[in-house]
Amino acid sequence: MSEPMISDPWVERLKDPERQEEALTELRVRLVRGLKKAFSSAGESFAEDIAQDALIRILEKIDQFEGRSQFPTWAMSIAVRLATSQTRRKHFKDVSLEQFTNGEGLKLEVAVDTVPGAAEQLEQGTIYQKLSELIDGLSDRQQTAVRALLGGMPVEEIADRTSSNRNAVYKLVHDARTKLKSGLEAAGYSADDLTGSIA
């Protein structure tokens, strides 16, 4: 194992064979308590199991700790990601992407009857019409990912179902958003116009 990039008491203890066990025990107790509070409905052993997995991941990534936060805070961020990934996987295990697309792509049909005033209603309708046209220009993968996201499916679950990863799906959706925004700007609608249309 290489030397730590920064000097931090936690890193030093975790990399010292004679002090590692004690540090791991101390960190584990803190992780478990935090996880129990954040995932109180996940069952008694959940926090213990996640903390154990997190400690392994933390030791693997310890050289990536740059000291920009307190070490336990950084460690907890890793543990929470593991925990949320696991709970999401369990929650969405029987949910398919098709459930969100229903074979109809990302069709936009929205009533605009809640906007006060005819002018605002017309403006909103025009923006939505343009948005709908631009959505037709997105790839099937982009439309599916956007539809699933708007339906509440987490990025990592979409990634699992498309043989991708969380970052790639985020980029896919970001590219779609960029394309939609550019198209709307080219049509004369600013970001303020967009947020104004849904106010």
Partner: protein, 81 residues
């Protein structure tokens, strides 16, 4: 199956807040501990941290994870009392 009105609003909001160089989910995780401490201390969000803030605003997945993270941190702090 058309989008609901709420989904369209969410999409429009997402499109409006899109910036060219957004960090991805792993980039957010890399800085989220620092961001949380900054926010909990009530300190101003510096430009580097603004990218995290922007990602959280655009990624519902990371936003929920961040809220859970803050809760976990509060539980961890209680342990030291």
């Amino acid at each position: 199956m058309p989008l609901s009105k709420q989904q369209v609003s969410s999409l429009v909001q997402l499109v409006a807040s899109t910036t060219p160089d957004e960090i991805d989910c792993d980039g957010c995780l890399d800085h989220v501990a620092e961001f949380a401490e900054t926010q909990l201390a009530g300190l101003p969000i510096e430009s580097a941290m603004a990218e995290v803030q922007n990602h959280l605003a655009n990624c519902h997945c990371c936003q929920l994870e961040f809220e859970t993270f803050l809760k976990a941190l509060s539980g961890m702090d209680e342990s030291s009392e």
